[in-house]
């Protein structure tokens, strides 16, 4: 099918065009980019100056499939992602059974294709069963299509195993994503070590727990010369460590989440211990939030990921201390980031911010997928259309995701994705809504 997106400002993955242009999508690829393109039997969408970007990529989502499908599954997750403006997501392997073999990788790819939402790319575990003891079949998983290796949910706490994995995966072109946490410092902790833990007695999660694991990973990356990626970095100390590693020229990368870019530990007190704010890593201080935006500004952060972590209401709508950690927000995450960016007075250039959703994450994927994240004639027609002026209230009852608890439910946010295309197929279209 042929689609013509007219009158758009185009962000191609690197830079934002000044004038309005058109994009012609044909047979699943971007056929042409230019001004005044002929309509010629295409389905025409007049975007009225809205922003056309390469389809957004989320490197870190939990779709709970297989094993925990009452929380989410590949279908609901993929559709939720598309509703949130994402055209590609990478699913985390902490499922039941864990994704530690090629068969499960292929199962997820197949389910993803049928889902009719965002493109689903599975990640595989670093260790068998995510037990942290033995290396999983990294080569076979890579062949079957795994795009990252991670034991997310946990760090790879055995340094020898992590070093082995780094060495082994070097030539597979599949990056290792490390969940930076030192478990002995975080046992039974529920909140950041700070004002909330002092005033409530809830055990605190010190910043050191994050940076210790990051330093460890950097040291191993230096020795093995293998790339390592740190996910959901949440502290000033953490981003500082990554910054230093980058200065040294090491292949170290990291991502940050929308909730760590906008919320802080005071939300827990103000909301009177609402479990929607319980997350791993925990919400930190205002100072840390500022440091994360600075990390975006100076290129320390390479991507923004949602860490979409859905739970059933029965599991999550419980008293704070008993609740599991996780914020499920993929359907409003982009709006949260844009709204926060606007409220903070646009602390980074829009182009740079958009690259963290597009070319930034694409660069961390294996070669076949690196072309995602760019708008180029001949590239796959993965497109996200943004309306920076759109004001909409978050309503979880409209969600495609199974999750129903979200920190921004009921909040008015500005800056929304209004259309998602995956390989030329329209997976989400809200152009007619509002206005």
């Amino acid at each position: 099918m042929t689609i013509l997106l007219k009158n758009a400002k185009i962000f191609d993955g690197r830079s934002l065009g000044g004038e309005c242009e058109d994009i012609l999508v044909k047979d699943g690829v971007i056929a042409r980019r230019g001004s005044g393109l002929p309509e010629d039997g295409a389905e025409v969408y007049d975007l009225g100056g809205k922003l056309v970007c390469p389809g957004f990529i989320d490197l870190h989502v939990h779709f709970r499939d297989p094993g925990y499908e009452w929380r989410e599954d590949t279908e609901s997750g993929a559709r939720a992602a598309a509703a949130g403006g994402y055209s590609t997501v990478v699913t985390m392997p902490n499922t039941e059974p864990a994704v530690d073999n090629p068969v499960t990788v292929e199962y997820l790819l197949a389910r993803g294709k049928r889902a009719g939402g965002a493109r689903v790319l599975p990640s595989g575990c670093v260790s068998k069963g995510r037990q942290g003891k033995q290396l999983a079949e990294l080569g076979l998983m890579a062949e079957s299509g795994a795009v990252l290796f991670t034991d997310d949910g946990s760090p790879v706490w055995d340094a020898k195993l992590l070093k082995t994995a780094l060495l082994y995966s070097k030539d597979l072109d599949v990056r290792i994503m490390e969940h930076p946490e030192e478990p002995s410092l975080t046992a039974k902790a529920h909140v950041n070590e700070g004002v909330v833990s002092a005033s409530s007695g809830l055990k605190g999660w010190p910043a050191s727990a994050e940076v210790i694991d990051i330093q460890r990973g950097i040291a191993l990356s230096r020795e093995t010369d293998a790339p390592i990626h740190f996910t959901h970095v949440s502290t000033e100390l953490g981003v500082d460590a990554v910054r230093q590693a980058k200065k040294e020229g090491l292949p170290v990368t990291c991502d940050v989440t929308p909730h760590h870019l906008s919320l802080d530990e005071n939300c827990i007190l103000v909301s009177r211990f609402s479990s929607t704010y319980k997350v791993n890593p925990p919400l930190r201080t205002r100072k840390d939030v500022k440091a994360l935006w600075e990390a975006i500004a100076d290129g320390t952060a390479d991507a923004i990921v949602t860490d979409h972590a859905p739970y059933h209401m029965d599991e999550k709508d419980v008293p704070f201390q008993e609740a599991p950690c996780g914020i499920a927000s993929i359907e409003c995450s982009v709006a949260v980031v844009l709204d926060t960016w606007l409220k903070l007075g646009e602390p980074v250039a829009l182009e740079h911010l958009l690259s963290l959703f597009t070319s930034g994450p694409a660069a961390l994927l294996p070669r076949p997928w690196r072309a995602l994240g760019a708008i180029k004639e001949g590239a796959a027609a993965d497109i996200t259309v943004l309306d920076l002026d759109a004001m909409k209230r978050v309503d979880v009852n409209e969600w495609k995701s199974k999750a129903r608890l979200c920190p921004w439910d009921g909040e008015m946010l500005q800056g929304w994705p209004v259309m998602t295309l995956v390989e030329g197929n329209v997976r989400m279209n809200r152009l007619e809504d509002g206005e």
């Binding site: 833990s197 002092a198 409530s200 007695g201 809830l202 419980v318 008293p319 704070f320 008993e322």
Partner: protein, 308 residues
């Protein structure tokens, strides 16, 4: 004064004026315990459910006495273990309470945030926090204020030394809040391993030497030390704890001569407090128990009686 609180989850939202008014009302409730018939019909027809998810005889009995003296109907609900024992979630408990027509729920739970959770979900019933995890025990703080005030009069400007395991103590957290609101300056003492990381954010000072904290203090408050802390490796031995931070006659002698010695109970005699101090002339520990009933009566009456 118009009483505007329907629940008591934390004393954070109470003003100093409200605390003064409350403590005066508690004084009059205290008088009721001297009557031949210790019962007034003020809360007749109101149903109070005591939801104790954590074992506690003392606090529950204190609340029960208060409830019965005000002629309320009392339902005792104890669920041992976590709220999810027998598969019943706290959300289910909420619907049951609502359906029962409870006018008030007194809740004690091992998890922080449970009273907040209940008060957000229960539309009708008042919620009273009888202790949530390590977070708060506001009625304890109220009775401590009442008791201290009885001995010392106006507390404004007084000095309090709070000694013991503050890190794990909800009593400490609520008392620090309450006494500070009344104008008392609070100094903490105890092993550094048993202190919260950020004492400054609580508005208190910390000194490791108990003697320094006790010197000239008007109130000496001793917290329980549990044997598990020794097992957790947080203190080397109970004996060392007693020598360095225990309530001994020599430590109490450093405080002001009229000082009030307080303890939330139950006491580990010989550990955090010597018997001679517990039974000594400065001790108001027994008074604290009596204040407990008076204060809980005042709380129930003010929040449940009167216009809502």
């Amino acid at each position: 004064m118009e009483w505007r609180h329907k629940d008591l989850i934390s004393l954070e939202g109470w003003t100093r004026e409200e605390l003064h008014f409350f403590l005066e009302q508690a004084d009059y409730m205290d008088e009721l315990m001297n009557r031949p018939i210790k019962k007034v019909p003020a809360l007749r027809g109101k149903m109070v459910v005591n939801c104790f998810f954590e074992n506690s005889t003392r606090t529950r009995v204190s609340f029960e006495l208060a409830e019965k003296m005000l002629s309320a109907d009392v339902v005792n609900w104890s669920a041992s273990g976590s709220s999810t024992s027998k598969g019943e979630t706290l959300r289910d408990t909420v619907w049951t309470l609502e359906a029962m027509g409870a006018d008030a729920v007194v809740v004690r739970h091992g998890a922080v945030g449970v009273p907040d959770y209940l008060s957000k979900k229960l539309h009708r019933a008042s919620v009273f926090n009888a202790g949530d995890g390590t977070n708060g025990h506001p009625t304890q703080a109220l009775l401590d204020l009442h008791s201290a005030r009885k001995k010392l009069g106006d507390l404004d400007g007084a000095k309090m030394a709070m000694i013991g395991d503050v890190l794990h103590s909800r009593v400490a957290r609520s008392d620090i809040q309450a006494f500070r609101k009344m104008g008392v300056s609070v100094t903490l003492s105890g092993p550094a391993t048993l202190m919260p990381e950020d004492t400054a954010s609580l508005g208190v000072e910390y000194v490791s030497d108990a003697r320094e904290a006790a010197r000239g203090a008007d109130i000496l408050y001793f917290l329980r030390i549990q044997r598990e802390r020794q097992e957790d490796g947080l203190i080397p031995s109970i004996d060392e704890y007693h020598r360095r931070w225990g309530a001994t006659d020599s430590l109490v002698a450093l405080a002001s001569p009229k000082a009030a010695v307080m303890h939330p109970g139950p006491m580990n005699r010989g550990v955090e407090i010597a018997s001679s101090v517990a039974d000594g002339p400065n001790s108001v520990i027994l008074g604290q128990v009596r204040s407990g009933v008076a204060v809980r009566m005042a709380l129930l009456y003010l929040c449940l009686g009167g216009a809502r």
